[in-house]
Amino acid sequence: MDSALAIHRLQFAFTVTFHYLFPQLTMGLALLLVVLKTLAIRTGKPIYDEAVRFWAKIFGINFAMGVATGIPMEFQFGTNWAAFSRAAGGVIGQTLAMEGVFSFFLESTFLGFVLFGEKRLGPRLHWFATAMTCLGAWLSGFFIIATDGWMQHPVGYALGPHGEIILSSWLGLIFNPWTWWQYAHNMTGSVVTGSFVMAGLGAFYLLQRAHEEYGQVFVRAGVTAGVIATIVMLFPTGDRQGVMIARHQPVTLAAMEGHFETMQSAPIALVGQPDMDRLALDNPLLVPHALSFLTWQHWTAEVKGLRDFPRDLWPDNVPLLYYAYHIMVGLGTMLIAVMVASAFLLWRGRLFSARWMLWVLLLAIPFPYIANTAGWITAEVGRQPWLIYGLMRTTAGVSPRVSAGNGLFTLLGFMGLYLVVGILFLWLVWREVEHGPNAAAKAEGGH
């Protein structure tokens, strides 16, 4: 692999992975904020308003970090992936510009009102501002997924005389079937992160025996949303997303599953290590027939193995793809178990005194982040060796004039800067957590 290409890929991977730690919380949290604000109006209890103020602050910090680390993403399409932008900008520029025009303005404007305008707006308009912030965040997610969905499964285009990619159907681009399942799966994932963070922090307060009434509100809201979201994550969204991959990217499916040999009644590997020299899975733990059933809804159906695809169509890092996918699924399963158990205890009225379960909820906070990240690695490494699936290879998309040396300079710069950003972020959030929701109630509205 040419080293400039490797550095450009690494820089994009690093910056986008870091960036997505923030929006995945804001998108999920935005929905939970609307729920809490609705409860505040419905019940008239001030505790819900205080909860909204507290979480709005955490939302605000996350949002600022998301914006700060998001601008480099849009820029890098031009700076590092100029050949790709030149060829496909007329298509994906549409969705990226729509994100700016429709969602960023909406989100940033109404977040200003949510954070600074509660007194002047009154409860109903403040609810409206919260809902609009949520809409902005979710629209933003949609346009990004529409962009990625098109790169995964290009539709609505025609090829020009010089190989340039010309948008031919705007509706086709927006209603790309791939996009909608990926969007549903992704947004559910962000609700999972939001609910685990909310429930986990509630558990933290309950375990500490501080701000307990807030802790109960947070745990109740987080677990209720979380049990729904974790299950929807698996079915239907995860399942449908899998079927999309099986249908449109069968090589990717085989690599994800570590499925090397074409066979009928294909088993699914729960664990195992892909051995790329022998082209086999070491130490596999298999569930018979499962892959055939999940892929084709038929226990004995044939599933094509990786060996039977031309090598130059294989994703270029099969083990990474395999592990990312298995980590996502494995963690997803555990997250379902945690939320179902918590929901059961909540329903029986025993959760707030079940300290072991609260500990589990607290310690679970990092895992939805890891699962979401692993999911995105699966999607993006799975798309390789293509930048636009079937149309443009990743090798062809890179900026022709930006050297490896200049690329490494900026990659290192980003690493240093993001280290600082990450530390400041954790510390800022920790301060808010330490002050607790009461402090937020006292210093109403402001930063």
């Binding site: 600022a64 700060a68 700016g100 429709f102 909406l106 404007t109 800022l428 930063h447």
Partner: protein, 341 residues
């Protein structure tokens, strides 16, 4: 159709400069006009609810440029790679400084972030001017449609020019001073008491510098890029744009002297928009002049195909009307002068 999108992108850029210009410019006032913690807090409070939304104009403008002129986006962003990355880092640092400054009450913490905020804001003002200077001067585009330009070479605006040469630095300085003036007028408009009065005074002093630099860059630009001259000869109605800038600058002087802060600020908006549209008009129909005119990018060879541009109008126009409405609404809502605590 290409011309229409050229104008729309220009409007986005002008919107960005006028809006984010005042909060970037207030970084100057933050360092050099405000005298104590109370006054710095006042300044930050004037931009607190709006700066995020202003920065969105950059993103939306970038997105619009991307889909309307993808070839330009690809060539310029990869060509100005290093400068753009530095802009990104400055934007990130600036956002962080606004966000974290008020969280800790310490005699070391706040001054540190004040310097970060003031200097990143000021450097951004300078760099945006340098970028504009590069577009006017031209870049070493070749037959491949790409170029790569180092940060600096011999500081001369010739064939071997870097991003920074004496000409682009001059434009950068002009941009820095114009935005410092803009920011001071904003602070004068949105605060009360002594801070407001001193901002007005600073603006009055900066005005002379801006006047001097405006004359200088106008003369030099016509010498550096002969294309500008041809444009104004061909379509004399284009003098409307520089006239707008002159009226704006005169307005700043008159209204600032009369302590009419709102009109002075609006005059400054007019000045900035007039300067920017003058440049844009002068460069048209080019979007990125090359040292070798054969390889220049213009609105035709850089634009996306017609269907995309047409369908783009359908959502872009209502979308931006809505977005502008939010901006107006937000500014009206937070239009009261900020008192010291």
């Amino acid at each position: 159709m290409e011309t229409l999108w050229f104008c729309l992108v220009a409007i986005m850029v002008a919107g960005y400069v006028v809006l984010d210009g005042y909060d970037l410019g207030s970084g100057f006032a933050h360092l050099f006009v405000a005298r104590d913690e109370r006054e710095r807090k006042q300044i930050l409070a004037t931009i607190g609810p709006v700066w995020d939304g202003n920065e969105v104009w950059l993103l939306a403008g970038g997105g619009t440029l991307y889909f309307a002129f993808p070839v330009l986006y690809a060539a310029s962003f990869s060509g100005f790679y290093l400068a753009l990355m530095i802009v990104l880092w400055l934007l990130i640092l600036r956002a962080i400084s606004v966000e974290v400054r008020n969280h800790v009450d310490s005699p070391l913490w706040r001054p540190f972030w004040d310097v970060v905020f003031g200097s990143t804001s000021s450097l951004l003002c300078l760099l945006f001017g340098v970028a504009l200077g590069n577009v006017v001067r031209g870049v070493p585009l070749d037959a491949s449609g790409y170029f790569f330009i180092p940060l600096w070479t011999n500081f001369l605006p010739g064939e071997e020019a870097g991003i920074i040469d004496w000409y682009t630095v001059l434009i950068g300085l002009a941009s820095f001073c114009a935005l410092a003036l803009h920011g001071s007028l904003w602070v004068a408009l949105r605060t009360t008491g002594d801070l407001s009065r001193r901002s007005r005074l600073t603006a009055a002093r900066l005005w002379w510098v801006v006047l001097l630099l405006t004359v200088a860059i106008t003369l030099v630009s016509f010498a550096i890029q002969p294309h500008l001259y041809g444009q104004f000869m061909r379509w004399p109605w284009g003098y409307l744009f520089p006239a707008l800038a002159v009226i704006g600058l005169a307005g700043v002087f008159v209204f600032n002297r009369a302590s009419d802060d709102l009109r002075a600020f609006l005059a400054s908006c007019t000045y900035l928009a007039g300067m920017l549209t003058s440049v844009v008009f002068g460069v048209y129909p080019l979007v990125l002049p090359a040292n070798n005119p054969r390889f220049s990018l213009d609105i035709h060879n850089a634009a996306a195909p017609t269907y995309g541009l047409q369908i783009g109008l359908v959502w872009w126009i209502p979308g931006m009307i809505l977005a502008s409405a939010y901006s107006v609404f937000l500014h009206r809502h937070f239009s009261k002068r900020v008192e010291p605590d």
